[in-house]
């Protein structure tokens, strides 16, 4: 996952999921109400999945939904618990 760009307090964040065998991957997190329909990821030529999302300054919890399976990001900068007590990934946006 990499950060780029800057627009006021929002920042574009790339999320990459290396589930090359998956049929569908969604990004879920605090920023989209953990709704898998909001941020569906796109498969790239190398078969990894990518999405760019504009996020506010701060720390955000997220996970990938890989063929419906809740999956942590192994490249995440941190781990935390969400409001349901599940372990989720963590991304800082500065």
């Amino acid at each position: 996952m990499t950060l780029y760009g800057y627009q006021k307090s929002m920042r574009a964040v790339n999320f990459i999921c290396h589930a090359t065998q998956a049929k569908t991957v969604s990004l879920v997190g605090d920023f989209n109400g953990w709704n898998p329909a909001v941020n569906r990821m796109k498969q790239m030529p190398d078969r990894s999945w990518l999405i760019t999302v504009e996020l506010k300054h701060g720390h955000h919890r997220y996970a990938f939904l890989v063929d419906g399976v809740f999956t942590l990001d192994p490249q995440a900068q941190g781990i935390a618990r969400n409001d349901k007590g599940e372990r989720v990934s963590l991304v800082p946006v500065s």
């Binding site: 506010k56 300054h57 701060g58 720390h59 955000h60 919890r61 900068q77 941190g78 781990i79 935390a80 618990r81 007590g85 372990r87 963590l90 800082p92």
Partner: protein
């Protein structure tokens, strides 16, 4: 204990803006553990205290930082001009100095976190910053730019404990001690909890962490075990199902204080074993037949410690 810190109890809450734009009433209390041994060059400490000074200036978000200084450090350096100049010019300017007689670093943590806690209020966060790292190096400066994430994660995401994880190579003494000592012993004494801890961190003895007021109240008022407080806090967080988070802070090394020697590594493994034994007894001694189970675990523990000794002896300088 000589104190120069003042209580802020009763002080009105100051709002902190969170990522959602909502106001949290908590503020952050930085607690810096001053190095026991003095470096020949103060570049690392100067880099650290340039951060501490910035924190102290941000009164909306941070309480006045507290630096804990062991009195033994003071007496060993009281005629050393560089130490006195740094103490009087930098430490005193950047925050409050808590002078305390401490048996070891864990007692410095206890003294510093306890003093900050007495200034604090529900919703506040206490942020421990070890002083003996190479903050002046390029990687260290990058870490200094990330450390503030630890308390912010607690405030923004309503966590109880946030562990800062550093990257080390596989042959680093910390890595070897944690792999062959800390986790092996944890799997013996607290197997379920050890698995839960490892889901969060490979550094259960990390010196970088932040802790929320209510959780610090729980651990401060319980028996304070003599060593390896991060391990103990992680175990309590698992026992009580508190919210743990982990954040990668970067590549950084402690300053050379002999920790990389075999003797020091063995001492760290022995301390971990001692604290786990004590904690296990405290949690099980009310149960009938606990002593038989204890003896079994102790026998396994001794085997684990001896194996760790062999491995560390093969890999670390004598």
């Amino acid at each position: 204990m000589k104190r120069t810190v003042k209580s802020n109890r009763g002080k009105p809450s100051k709002p902190v803006r969170t990522k959602g734009g909502s106001a949290s009433t908590g503020t952050i209390h930085p607690v810096i553990i001053y190095p026991f041994k003095q470096p020949a060059d103060y570049g690392d400490l100067e880099a650290l205290y340039s951060l501490v000074e910035r924190l102290g200036a941000d009164r909306e978000k941070y309480e006045r930082p507290i630096t804990v200084v062991d009195r033994k450090t003071y007496y060993s350096q009281k005629k050393a001009a560089p130490f006195l100049a740094f103490r009087n010019r930098t430490l005193a300017r950047c925050g409050d100095i808590l002078d305390a007689w401490c048996v070891d670093t864990c007692q410095m943590w206890y003294a510093g976190l306890g003093a900050a806690f007495e200034r604090g209020k529900p919703g506040d966060v206490y942020w421990l910053i070890p002083g003996d790292f190479n903050y002046g190096a390029a990687a260290g400066r990058e870490v200094l730019g990330r450390l503030h994430d630890l308390p912010e994660i607690i405030l923004e995401l309503d966590q109880h404990l946030c562990i800062g994880e550093i990257a080390t190579d596989h042959n680093n003494s910390k890595q070897l001690i944690d792999t062959h000592g800390t986790f092996a012993l944890l799997y013996n004494w607290f197997p379920a909890e050890a698995q839960a801890i490892r889901q969060y961190t490979e550094r259960p003895r990390s010196e970088f962490f932040a802790v929320r007021h209510d959780f610090l109240a729980e651990v401060l008022t319980q028996r304070w075990y003599p060593y390896e407080q991060t391990v103990v806090m992680l175990l309590h967080a698992i026992f009580k199902q508190r919210r743990i988070s982990r954040f990668f802070v970067g590549n950084i090394s402690d300053l050379p204080e002999g920790r990389e020697s075999l003797a020091s590594a063995l001492q760290q493994v022995e301390r971990t074993e001692r604290v786990l034994k004590t904690l296990w007894r405290d949690r099980h001694r009310a149960q009938s037949g606990w002593i038989q189970r204890y003896r079994e675990l102790e026998a396994h523990s001794e085997q684990i410690r001896r194996t760790a000794l062999t491995i560390l002896q093969n890999l670390l300088p004598g």
